[in-house]
């Protein structure tokens, strides 16, 4: 074999080896990419499945009667306030102990001001503690409260939930509490009670409550309780040090950002 033929053969072998190597790289690379895609879509699929099992059999677009126009919360005192009064939005998660504390400090004041029409009071329910506590009680309580709005007892039911909040965060609410006990405390009885329970059992308002949580996150509210007056977030350090009178004044005098 001549020198040049041997050289040519060597080159050919090298080229073949390179081509094979390239092929292996492409195949393994494609497998890795496939794993990424399957992983991401698998996560999405499983989480949708979980959501469906726990709280969303109907995927209903139903909205409680006193929902805000943007569907981001429920107005506590519709028709009771004049145009131009401060718009007070309270972001709560029903499993949040500090929300219960807040409710204990200022809940009655808020109800009173709302009743007199001094403010427009809106509760915006969040459900992010479900993710932190790995349960679905925030969503279930939110769904029940929104159902109670259809019975005209939103504010009373809201108060009943906080009054019955378990001492240990993460315990969650039982079906008995949400269907029967809190409804009783809120004064939902008779035919209204069965309508309420039907609403709750079918999770009619779950889409709405998921939407209020999403809308709150979009407004960069990441913790509860958060108080917003005319779109301006109040500093919780100040809120929790306020007396009832100071808190009232803050609500009435905070300038909006819009």
């Amino acid at each position: 074999m001549t020198q040049s033929r041997r050289e040519a053969l060597r080159r050919q072998q090298q080229a073949q080896a390179r081509a094979k190597r390239f092929q292996r790289i492409i195949i393994v690379g494609a497998i890795v990419l496939a794993v990424v895609v399957v992983g991401v879509f698998g996560t999405i699929f499983v989480s949708q499945l979980n959501r469906g099992n726990t709280a969303d059999p109907g995927t209903s677009a139903a909205v409680p009667v006193n929902a805000t126009a943007d569907r981001d919360g429920i107005t506590v005192n519709p028709g009771k306030f004049a145009a131009g009064v401060p718009k007070v939005e309270i972001f709560v998660d029903y499993q949040c102990p500090i929300c219960k504390q807040f409710e204990g400090m200022f809940g009655a004041t808020l109800d009173e001001m709302a009743g007199k029409g001094e403010i427009q009071l809106i509760y915006r329910t969040m459900t992010f503690l479900d993710n932190n506590l790995k349960n679905d009680s925030s969503l279930k309580a939110g769904v029940a409260a929104a159902c109670a709005d259809n019975s005209g007892k939103y504010s009373a039911y809201h108060n009943a939930i906080f009054a019955g909040q378990p001492a240990t965060e993460g315990t969650g609410y039982t079906t008995q509490q949400l269907r029967v006990d809190f409804a009783g405390t809120a004064g939902i009885t008779g035919a209204a009670l069965s309508t309420f329970q039907q609403c709750y059992d079918n999770r009619v308002t779950s889409g709405f409550v998921q939407g209020t949580n999403e809308a709150a996150a979009k407004d960069q509210v990441n913790s509860t309780p958060t108080v917003m007056v005319n779109g301006t977030k109040l500093d919780n350090n100040k809120v929790f040090q306020s007396s009832v009178d100071v808190f009232k004044q803050t609500l009435l005098t905070t300038k909006g950002n819009g």
Partner: protein, 176 residues
């Protein structure tokens, strides 16, 4: 011909160590988050850095991507790319934590699950950043010197021509 740094034994074993450290941390961090994608979305949102509409895709994809990059590093597959990508994710986390620190936002970094606002998150930031800088260094090292022992790269792809030449030179040198 002088031996290049990349062919030295200690460099290759350092790459091996860097691969394992960054790889294992990424696998653990991702695996803890994969079962709770909505919590991951929340952790991303708590940074208030990304536009709201992309926080959900990022929250879902990031844990999976972490695990895959981690697996590649531990197995030594596509080490160069995996090293750079791992380093890039660490750089992103460092930027994220610096951002919330600069803006006085107190959150749990959500690095290993969890996340969201918390009371004394800011005190934790220097440690989070120090850890991520160390891991970033691991990624950069693996990206710069991807050849290492006990790597799938070695038997799956074989040495590339230039690397084969380098090995050849090394062999010659050791004989001389």
């Amino acid at each position: 011909m002088p031996r290049t740094l990349a062919t030295r034994t200690w460099v290759r074993w350092t790459t091996f160590a860097a691969r394992q450290i960054l790889g294992i941390v990424l696998i653990i961090a991702g695996a803890l988050k994969i079962p709770w994608p909505e919590a991951s979305v929340q952790a991303v949102r708590a940074y208030q850095l990304l536009p709201f509409d992309i926080t959900r895709p990022v929250g879902y994809a990031l844990p999976v991507i972490e695990v895959v990059i981690g697996l590649l590093l531990v197995l030594g597959l596509f080490t160069r790319i995996a090293g750079w990508l791992g380093g890039l994710t660490m750089l992103a986390f460092i930027i994220g934590i610096s951002w919330v620190w600069a803006h006085g936002i107190s959150i749990d970094c959500g690095c290993f699950g969890g996340g969201g606002e918390t009371e004394n998150g800011i005190a934790q930031y220097p440690w989070d950043i120090a850890r991520d800088v160390g891991l970033l260094a691991c990624g950069v090292w693996a990206g710069l010197f991807p050849r290492s022992p006990l790597a799938l790269d070695n038997w799956l792809f074989g040495p590339s021509d230039t690397e084969a030449d380098a090995d050849h030179d090394e062999l010659e040198e050791s004989r001389a």
